[in-house]
Each structure stands twice: as C-alpha cells, then as structure tokens.
Point group: C2
Chain length 139, copies 2
C-alpha cells in the first residue's frame, strides 16, 4: 500500500513537471513501451529460465515470426536487458542471455505476473458481465 502510494505521488510529480508538454521524456512511458510490447516480457521470462539460442527461442514461442523475434531481441539487447553471444562455429551459433539489468526486472515482473494470475478470474468475470449487460443479448 505504501509503496503504491509512493509511486502514485512520484507519478503525480511527473505529470506536474511535464505540464502540457507530454512529448518530453518520461521514463515510465519509455520503459512501458518496451516491456509492454507483445513479446518482450515473454522473451525475458524465457531467458530467465535459461540462456537460449535463436532457434530455441523460436521453438519455445512458436507464434512469433522470425522477423519479430529478431527485432525484439535487438531491442532488448539495445536496452541492455539481454546480451548476445556469437560463437564462430559452422553453422553459426548465437546465444542470448539475460543481462544483470534484465535480471533486475524479474522481481517487478513477477509481481505483475502474480497479480495477473490471481486476478484473472475476476477480470474474466467482469468481462462476461460487461459483455452480457448492455443489450442482454441472448440471441
């Protein structure tokens, strides 16, 4: 509760600082744009389990295209969350590992996943209620 309060107050300060100019850099938004995309958190969780190669990751998460896999890994590497290790073998071997910065993200992410896990039934129930209510369409 107190930690949430702190965050809220800090956020309020952000908002006031930014004033009307929201185009200014906002750490929270910047970070959210990264970890909020479709695949980043999945990647991080996957690499938290163990370091993996490109094709291993692709097998672990089949419904991502090579294109997006490459792009997501690049972005995560760019942000220093993961590292890329190339071994000059034939054929080439590339292993991706969670960097310390990525490790430090695990705890906050775990809190979120925990929440998702515990509250999902509530969310689902709310959706059913919402979708059923407006027209009450039995069809």
């Amino acid at each position: 509760m107190s930690s949430a309060q702190n965050a809220i107050e800090r956020f309020s300060r952000y908002q006031r600082q930014l004033g009307g100019d929201q185009s200014a850099h906002c750490a929270v938004r910047d970070v959210l744009d990264r970890i909020g995309d479709k695949w980043s958190m999945l990647m991080i969780m996957e690499l938290a389990t163990r370091s993996q190669r490109f094709s291993e990751l692709h097998r672990a998460i089949p419904d991502i295209s090579k294109r997006m896999l490459t792009q997501t890994l690049r972005d995560l590497e760019r942000d220093g969350l993961i590292t890329r290790h190339v071994f000059p073998t034939r054929p080439p071997t590339v292993e991706y590992r969670l960097a310390p910065l990525g490790q430090s993200l695990l705890d906050p992410m775990a809190a979120l996943i925990d929440w998702a896990d515990r509250r999902y039934s509530d969310i689902h129930a709310a959706r059913v209620r919402f979708d059923g209510a407006p027209g009450d369409v039995p069809r």
Copy 2:
C-alpha cells in the same frame, strides 16, 4: 529473488502446458495486452490520484485523442478495473473511479514504475552505447 523464481517456475509450467498451442488462453499475456497498451497504465495512475471526469482526464493527458480515451476507458471498465458513474445533469457528468480490482493493481504497477525510475539511466546508457557501437558513425 524468491518471488521472481516462483513466477519463473509458474511461467515455465504455463509454457509446457500450452505446448505448441499458444493460441490457448494465457492469463499473463491477456493481462499484459491490457496494461501494456499505450494508455491503460497512465489512466490507472491518473485515477489512482483521484476520481476524474472525462474532460479532466483529457486535460491531464493531453496527447491522447478523445477516441483513444473513450476506448481505453471502456476497456478498463470492461475488465472491472475502473467504474463509470453517470450523473443525469445538464450537461452530462461522467465520473470514472478506480475499482477495487484496479486498486489491487497499484502495488505491482508501483514495483514496475519504481524499477523504470531507478534503471532508466542504465537503459539510456545502454542505448547510447548500442547505437554508437555498430558503425561508430561520427558523421
């Protein structure tokens, strides 16, 4: 650390359960799709500070279009994270409030925001390093 480990293990189980069929419902993904979008967390933080009306929210977050504001609020309401209260005045008054379910999200979100806040400089440094390294383009 231990909480992260728990989450990782739970996640691993998810992955194994799903097997190849990733289209199956995944609570984590489902939730991330919601809170991961561009505006949802911003809305929640804003409503955590205090309940607000439509136009107040629009003023607080100017760079969202009315269209997206409406849509985001609808989605959050649908998921039971916020509630919508209409007062039959002229002109109409609509107030949005954080629901208990939304309140319960504040702590995990705070953890994430805290992380973003503390690690942003590291991320930024990593980006500069990454962008500078490849071509070393001084131009």
